[in-house]
């Protein structure tokens, strides 16, 4: 476990280096989709706190190198998640066209993994689709949050809507200037679209060559991917309560229920979430977001904006 302090100090140093010279972060303006959830959260993850979009505002307008670097980091992480998606899908027995069709059309890491796991676990297609759709329901408020960015002519609006992800929304909302918002949104969304699909293709190719994924420990990658996507959201104590109760319900139900159903039953954990309290609104941390990684959407790859970004991403 000595690696933890080492990684921590490494990450702090990197954080400090990246932060150098960018001046104080500014408060993002949007009424971000995750803001409600993240109200009262303790600390943002350092990726966003230190180098996040808010801090980048100190540099003029347009997409500067620092912002592109941040987007690139998230894209790199999402590419890895894409690889694992492709590899897990084909090594779990799905034909290659399944991940290759899902990644460009669904384009949401958390939902793609959820649907895939339910199918691989022997669950029904209906449960897989419903679970994926419930996971992606958060894209609805996300879409409202970036509606101004997509206030374009209809073809661009319809095409741009496909790029609504945890990460692209988080990057866009942290920009104050409308032109920068739009530039950050499209740069992040388009780059993630490319790396997500390239990653999936690579994973499909590698997964077939890889043989048994369990020997390689690949089965441990997927829970971590989802965990990284969801971690920022869990800093809200009410969300954490609901999530823990839901997870306990899902695990307890797994021996007895058909595949996929235990995960859907986890929604009963929402009973522990209560309502958004008015007292928490002022405790909002403006720089909290979906910082890291994961596939697009997700919560995703890493979502979660991801992630991350982070949140959740993640896809």
């Amino acid at each position: 476990m000595f690696i933890i302090p080492v990684m921590r100090s490494f990450w702090r140093t990197l954080d400090r280096l990246l932060r150098h010279g960018t001046g104080p972060g500014r408060v993002p303006h949007g009424t971000g989709p995750d803001r409600a959830l993240l109200r009262g959260t303790g600390r943002a993850r350092p990726f966003l706190r230190g180098t996040g979009p808010g801090r980048l505002l100190a540099h003029g307008t347009g997409l500067d190198r620092a912002l592109l670097r941040d987007i690139g980091l998230v894209a790199l992480a999402d590419g890895v998640v894409g690889v694992s998606f492709g590899a897990i899908a084909v090594s779990g027995g799905q034909p290659a066209w399944v991940p290759l069709a899902m990644s460009p059309t669904v384009f949401a890491g958390g939902a793609q993994f959820a649907a895939l796991y339910i199918v691989l676990g022997g669950g029904g297609l209906t449960a897989a689709v419903v679970a994926g759709l419930v996971l992606n329901a958060r894209l609805l408020p996300f879409g409202f949050a970036v509606a101004d960015v997509l206030d374009l002519r209809w073809p661009a609006r319809l095409l741009g809507s496909h790029l609504v992800l945890d990460e692209s929304v988080a990057f866009a909302l942290a920009q104050r200037d409308p032109a920068r918002r739009r530039a950050a949104f499209f740069a992040c969304g388009a780059l993630l679209f490319v790396v997500w699909n390239l990653g999936t293709l690579l994973g499909v190719l590698a997964g077939r060559a890889a043989g048994n994924p369990e020997t390689l420990g690949l089965d441990a990658a997927s829970p971590i991917v989802l965990l990284a996507l969801v971690l920022p959201a869990l800093r809200d104590p009410r969300a954490r309560r609901a999530a823990l109760l839901g997870a306990a319900i899902a695990v307890a139900g797994t021996p007895f229920l058909p595949g996929g159903l235990p995960v859907l039953l986890a929604l009963l954990g929402l009973a522990a979430a209560g309502r958004p309290g008015p007292g928490r609104r002022n405790a909002s941390r403006p720089d909290a977001g979906r910082p890291d990684s994961g596939g697009p959407g997700s919560g995703g790859p890493g979502s979660g904006a991801r992630i991350r970004s982070r949140a959740e991403g993640r896809a």
């Binding site: 995750d34 669904v106 329901a137 609805l140 609504v164 420990g217 441990a220 919560g299």
Partner: protein, 102 residues
Amino acid sequence: MTWLAIGVLAGGTYAFRVCGPALHRRIELSEQVRWMLSVSAAVLLCALVATSALTSGHGFAGWARPAGVLAGGLLAVRRAPFIVAVAAAVATTAALRLLGVR
């Protein structure tokens, strides 16, 4: 997966995405609805983390996978970079299986 299932998932997902940009001048979601949407995503993701870390089919997954997930999860909670956390989880699980732990 079938074409139909992927099509419904993709179509529904796109419908969620496009509502805001298409309708934002007409309707506004209540704070409660937005919040519940966010929390249910987190709840579902956590349930997936727990079940995919601990179970396989209808039974226990064995010790190697939960151990790897624990290692990676600790790193993720400690704010390690994403790739490091995933690599640690995979490496731990693979190493344990190599040593004969199921």
